[in-house]
C-alpha cells in the first residue's frame, strides 16, 4: 500500500515537472501549427483558444489532471488524433527494439562479466575489460553511424534505416534484418556496463570468506562460481539491470533517430520540435510508468533471490 502511494506521488511529480518544463520552452504550438507565413495575433489567439492554451497555467494543469483521471489523455495538435493513440501506434516498434536490445545486453553482459571474472588477470580478462570500457566510451550515435557505414554502405548487406521493407511488414525474416543494426547499437553500451559491473561484483564475492571456505572444502571452481558466487552477486546485478532499463528509454531517442526507427524515441524528438504538448505528456507518463515498474520488479526479484531483503 505504501508502495502504491509512493508510485502515484512520483508519477504526479514527474508529470507536473514535465508540464512546467514544456511551457518554459519558448514558442508555442500555435505559431508552428499556423505556419510561418500566416502569422497574425488574431489567428494565434484563435488557435490558442481552441487548444485551451489561453487559460492560466494552474488551470491548464488542473484540467489536464482531471481529464487524465477520466481516462482522457488529450489530442495531438500535429496529428489531430488522440495523443494516446499516436503514442500507442509507435509503442510496438520501441518495445521490440528495446526488448531485444535489453535481452541481448543481459545475455552478453552477464556472460562476458562472468568469463572475465573467472579468468581474472588473464589476457582474456584484460581484453574483455578494456573492450567494455571502449564500448562504454563510444557515443551510441557514433557507433550507429559506424555500423551503418560498415553494414549498409561498405558491405551492403543490411538496410540502413526503417522498420521493414514497404509492403513486407508481415515478413518476419525481412523484419529481422532491419533489427540487427539498431539492436546492436542499443545493446552495446548496456552490455558493456553490465559486464564490468558483473565482473567487479563477482570478484568481490570471490574474495570473501565463504568462498575461501568452500574452496577449502573442495568444492569445484565451476560450482563456486555459478552456484554460490553468482547468486550472492545477484542483488547488485539485478539493481543495475533495472537501472539500465530506464536508460533504454533515453537511448531509444538517439538510436531511433539514427536508424529512422519509427518508435517513441523518434516521436519524442519530433514532438518537442512541434511543441506537441499532449503527445509529450503521454510519453512522459508512459516512461514514468516503465521506470517505476522496472524498479518495483527489481525489488521483487531481489527479495526472491535474497530473502534477507524482504525482512528489512
Amino acid at each position: 500500500m505504501r508502495r502504491v502511494v509512493e508510485v502515484t506521488l512520483t508519477l504526479g511529480a514527474l508529470i507536473l515537472a514535465v508540464f512546467l518544463v514544456l511551457r518554459l520552452a519558448p514558442g508555442g504550438p500555435a505559431q508552428l501549427l499556423l505556419g510561418p507565413d500566416r502569422f497574425t495575433p488574431e489567428l494565434e489567439e484563435r488557435v490558442n483558444h481552441t487548444l485551451g492554451l489561453d487559460r492560466s497555467l494552474p488551470e491548464q494543469v488542473v484540467r489536464w489532471v482531471r481529464a487524465v483521471c477520466a481516462g482522457e489523455l488529450g489530442t495531438s495538435y500535429f496529428h489531430r488524433r488522440p495523443a494516446s493513440q499516436v503514442v500507442l501506434e509507435r509503442l510496438g516498434a520501441t518495445l521490440i527494439l528495446g526488448g531485444l536490445a535489453f535481452g541481448l545486453s543481459l545475455v552478453v553482459g552477464l556472460s562476458v562479466g562472468v568469463l572475465a571474472a573467472a579468468r581474472q588477470g588473464s589476457w582474456v580478462d584484460r581484453l574483455l575489460s578494456h573492450g567494455a570500457v571502449a564500448v562504454i566510451a563510444t557515443p551510441s550515435f557514433w557507433l550507429g553511424i559506424g555500423l551503418i557505414l560498415l553494414g549498409s554502405v561498405w558491405l551492403g548487406i543490411l538496410p540502413s534505416a526503417g522498420l521493414a521493407p514497404i509492403g513486407q511488414e508481415g515478413d518476419l525474416g525481412a523484419r529481422l534484418r532491419y533489427l540487427i543494426l539498431p539492436v546492436l547499437t542499443m545493446a552495446a553500451s548496456h552490455a558493456a556496463s553490465l559486464a564490468l559491473y558483473t565482473r567487479s561484483a563477482l570478484l568481490e564475492v570471490l574474495a570473501s570468506d565463504f568462498v575461501r571456505t568452500a574452496r577449502a572444502m573442495g568444492t569445484s571452481a565451476r560450482r563456486i562460481l555459478w552456484r554460490h558466487a553468482l547468486s550472492a552477486a545477484a542483488v547488485p546485478i539485478i539493481t543495475m539491470a533495472a537501472l539500465n532499463l530506464a536508460h533504454f528509454l533515453e537511448g531509444s531517442i538517439v538510436v531511433e533517430t539514427v536508424f529512422g526507427w519509427p518508435g517513441i524515441g523518434q516521436l519524442t524528438t519530433a514532438s518537442v520540435a512541434r511543441r506537441d504538448y499532449p503527445v509529450l505528456l503521454v510519453i512522459s507518463l508512459w516512461a514514468g510508468i516503465v521506470v517505476v515498474t522496472a524498479n518495483l520488479m527489481a525489488d521483487l526479484l531481489t527479495r526472491l533471490v535474497d530473502p534477507r531483503e524482504a525482512e528489512e
Binding site: 508552428l32 505556419g35 507565413d37 501506434e89 534505416a161 526503417g162
Partner: protein, 505 residues
Amino acid sequence: MLGLVSAPGTAVPATSPAPSRPLVLGSLEEPGSLSALADLPHHFPGDMPQTLLFDSLIQYLPDGSVGPKLARRWEIGAGGTIYTFHLASNARFHDGRPVTAENVQFTVAAARDPAAQSSDEGLEAVETVEVLNPQTVRFRLKYATPRFLTEGGSRGIVPMHLLAGKDLGRDPFNRQPVGSGPYRLVGFTPGQSIVLDAVPDHYRGAPKISRAVFKILPDQNVILTQLRAGEIQYALLEPRDLPVAERILGVRVLEVPATRFYDITPNFQRPYWQDRRVREAVLRGIDREGIVKRLLGGRGQVVHSNATPASWAYNPDVPRYPYDPGRAQALLGEAGWLPGADGVREKAGQRLGFAVMVKNVDRTLEQALVVAQQQLRQVGVEMRIERLETGVFTARMREGQFDALSRIWNPVYDPDQSVLYRTGNLYGGYNNPEVDALLAKGLTVTDRASRKRIYGEIQRLLAQDVARLYLYSENELHAVATDLSGVKPHPVNLFWNLPEWAWGR
C-alpha cells in the same frame, strides 16, 4: 488502427488494366493529418498524399491560371462576389457516395470551424454557401477577392456523411481519410510509409501508375542512398546534393525556378535600420551573385524585391543594388558611421553591429550568412549569426526580440504578402502608407493584368526603399527516375498531375 491492408501483388484492383510497378517517393517529413481540412496542399513531398486523395473545386495550373476539377465550370457575378460552381455529375468519394453540393457546403463550414483547427486560407471572405441542387453550389462573398478562387477553390472537398457531427480536431478520419481524388489510401504505417492505390474508375480518368507509395526517411543522406539503390523514384534535393545526385545512373534532376526566396529582414525598431542609407550599404556589402554562383552552384538567382521570376506578378524593372563595397563604405560614411579602432564603424559611441537570427534547419542559408558576415566585416559592419531552434525563432520573431532575421518567404498561390509588409506587421515592422494602399487594392481587384501592375509597383517601392535585404532564390531541385515520364513543373504543387505520370522514357 489501420495497418497495411493488403500485401503487394494482391493489391492491384481487379478492374485495373495491368499491374504496374509502384512509384515510391522519398520524404523527410511525415504529414500530421491527411485530411484536406488540415491545410492547403503545397509543394512539399509531405503534401503529396493529400493532393492525390482529395479533389478540390478547381485546380491551379502551372501558369497561375485556374482550370476545372470537381467543378466542371463556374460563373462569376456581382462584381466578383458571387461564384456559382457546377460539379461533375460522375464524381464519387472512395466509398462510392457521389460528391454533391452539400459536401462543398460542409467542407467550407468545417474548414472555418475553430474546433477543426483547420486553416481557412482563401475562405476568409465567404459569407454564405448555398446548395442550389446536388450539382450546383453558390458562394456569396463579403467582398471581391482574387484569393477566393485560387486558394479557396484549391481546398479538398471532404465527405459530409463521414464527418458531420464528429470532433474534427481528433477524428480517425485524419488518419484514414476518404476523398474523391485519383488515389485512395490503402495503408499508413506511422513514421514509415503511406500507400495509395489508383482509383481505376475515377471521373477524371484512371491514373497511369496503379500504386504510389510515400516513404518517410530519416535524413538526406539516406534519401541519396535510396535513390542510388533505385528504392525511391522521386525526392526533393538540396543544391549540395547535386554532385552526388547527378552521378546516379537512372536519375535525372529537374530544376524549377521557385517563387520562394530568402532575405534578411531588419527590425525597424532599431534606430540604425531606420536610415535607408545603412540598409542600402549593408545590401551592397554582400556579394549575392557570388553566393548564388558558388554556394548554390548557379542553381538560383539573386532577388531584388519580394517576387521571383517564377511568379506571374514578377517585375524585372526594380532598383538593383549590386555588390559594391566602395559604395557601401561611402554610404555608411555619409550616414555618420565612421571606422572605429577595430575597423567596425561607430557613431556616437555605438558600434554598427547587429545579430541576425536563423533557424538551425536552414543550413544553406546559414552558409550564405557566413559569407555575408565576412564581406560585411570588410566594410566595417559587424554581423553576428544566431542559430535558433524553430520554436525559439518564431517566438522571438513574434515578440520583436531581434535585430534582424533571415529566413525563407514562400508566396505560394498568390503574390499577396500583406501580412508581412502592411503597417503594424510582426515581421520587422516596416511601414509605408503608399505600400499599404497598394496592398489593400491588390486584394480587391480580381483581373490578372491590373493585379500584375499593382504587385509590380509594390515590388518597385520595396526595392527602392530597401525594405528588406533581399538575398536569393534557390531553384527547386527534384530528383526523378529517368524512366518516369509526364512530370511537369508547377509553381505550387509538383504532384498536381501525378496521375499523368507513367513508366517509360
